[in-house]
């Protein structure tokens, strides 16, 4: 009787299990289907509008002449300045938390705080930048204010990814250095950092690709979205790629939607290239550690 409990139902239960497996498989495909639909839609809309104009021309009311030149250079400006400011600070913070910090309340507080900052909506960083950099420090709606805002936005991301790459350095390396009489700082400088460096690069590139796609805080800083010049210094007004794309999306004419899709192709291509570089570094690093 008791033996039958399993036998009586086992076929049905196994069939239900197979059905469940198929449902999970379908669920897993939803993401991929969504991604494919997105890419196909954008290529279909955007390819007819993709021309050299879009890279070499300034924005314009005339669709056949409109381009992304000022946005491309604006993005380049924001990105370089942001990298210059945020990478040293983010890495410094990560090195401190991983290598120097003692387990006490202040370390704990800093860690929770960084977790919280990572969850703050990006538009709130825009409001911060507007109050502090644009108004309080009187920078105005300029590249530098945008880059400082972006720095604060991606700092938690850089800190988290840098900590991961420092954590990946085996402890035996640290102990070997200390056993040879190195001070803590010498150990960090000559052993930990060089080994963690490829990981830094990967994290840095991924953080920068996040910065490229951010538009909400940049809108709060930049506001004006019709710019037909290249920023020549850090105190110039600017626009960035996603803002220009957003501008085209919000035009009522259908042709501008095509232009927006073409802009999105440019944006996604830049992101794809950056991620490819990141993957390249990651793989090179893995080969190295296997030797």
């Amino acid at each position: 009787m008791e033996n039958n409990i399993f036998h009586r139902n086992i076929k049905r239960r196994q069939n239900v299990g197979k059905l469940f497996y198929i449902i999970l498989l379908l669920f897993s495909l939803i993401g991929l289907i969504g991604l494919s639909a997105l890419l196909i839609q954008i290529l279909r809309d955007g390819l007819p509008y993709l021309s050299t104009n879009i890279i070499f021309n300034y924005p314009s009311r005339h669709i056949d002449q409109a381009g992304l030149k000022s946005a491309l250079f604006g993005t380049l400006w924001i990105l370089s300045l942001t990298a210059l400011i945020s990478l040293p600070i983010g890495m410094g913070a990560a090195i401190y938390l991983e290598e120097f910090a003692k387990k006490n309340w202040i370390t704990n507080f800093i860690e929770i705080n960084i977790g919280n900052l990572a969850g703050v909506p990006s538009i709130v960083y825009g409001l911060l930048g507007l109050t502090i950099f644009v108004e309080l420090l009187g920078l105005g709606r300029v590249v530098l204010a945008g880059a400082l805002t972006m720095t604060l936005l991606i700092l938690p991301i850089i800190i988290l990814s840098t900590r991961e790459s420092i954590k990946a350095v085996p402890n035996s390396y640290r102990e070997a250095a200390l056993a040879l009489g190195a001070t803590k700082w010498q150990m960090v400088k000559r052993v930990v950092l060089p080994i963690a460096f490829p990981g830094f690069l990967t994290g840095a590139i991924l953080a920068m690709s996040r910065a490229i796609g951010e538009s909400a805080p940049m809108i709060a800083i930049s506001a004006l979205v019709y710019i037909t010049f290249i920023p020549s210094h850090a105190m110039d007004r600017f626009t960035v790629l996603p803002i220009q794309i957003f501008n085209w999306i919000s035009r009522p004419q259908a042709e501008f939607a095509g232009l927006a899709a073409a802009g999105i192709i440019v944006l996604l291509t830049v992101l794809l290239l950056m991620n490819a570089v990141a993957v390249y570094f990651r793989n090179r690093y893995q080969v190295k550690s296997n030797e």
Binding site: Y21, G92, L117, P121, S122, L128, E135, P156, A216
Partner: protein, 296 residues
Amino acid sequence: MLRNFFRDIEGNIFRGIFFTCAFLSIVVSVIIVYSLVSQAWGFFAEVSVSEFISGTRWSPILKPRSYGVLPLVSGTILVSIIAAMVAVPVGVGVAMFLSEYASEKTRKTFRPLLEILAGVPTVVYGYFALSFVTPVLEKIFPDIMVFNALSAGLVMGLMIIPMISSITEDAMISVPKSLREAGYALGSTKMEVSLKIVLPAALSGIVAASILGISRAIGETMLVTIAAGATPKMAWNPLEGIQTMTAFIVQLSLGETPHGTLEYNTIFAVGFVLFAMTLIMNSLGRYVVTKWGIKY
């Protein structure tokens, strides 16, 4: 001796610099709160807190003016609920597939593909919602508006699937093998082990993932600005246009509203509500992980 001394000085200087970098994160938090509160202060000097919190009409620019934030909050919640209804079941399903069913090879190809979804800029999702999802929905619901909460919510769900699935997957993977083996030893099928042993054991991770995912949806900006419309209203009809808190902030930021005016200050009052909501949800998510989570 002297060399050692200088060696330590260098170490201490760098230690100090690195600590300053880490401490900066606390300064940033203080600045966030300061910048929101100081400007919202100006807003609440002219508009009463009770009107702001309980008012059901939001019209800060067009006369007759009215400053009830509830329509923006309800719009935000509506879109987030739709997103969660898509992303939580799908995300948990994906996580279960990857942690319980998929081979190592499948997992390795699948994860980067999901990461692509997480890396697509939100402007792109906005375009996708407006130019693809809304026209498709139009075939099912002919009276849907061009800008509507449903389309934005569905695409938002797609966007946060990777976030929910990766946190849930971590929780499922950390369920010890011995629990699964005990289930199999009692004659359970794979589905029964997955649903009755792994799922409950990973519940804290799933709850946390959902809370964090919803918090992300609340703070999402460009997608809802592009696809969900700019008509703040208390309607809970997903086929209509609404306005979220974030979309309102962008709408007002687009015009260069002069500093110090009441209109300018409204975005900080709304921003403060947004900040408080996401902070509470993120803290709740972390609390669930640390306090409910069973350590194996």
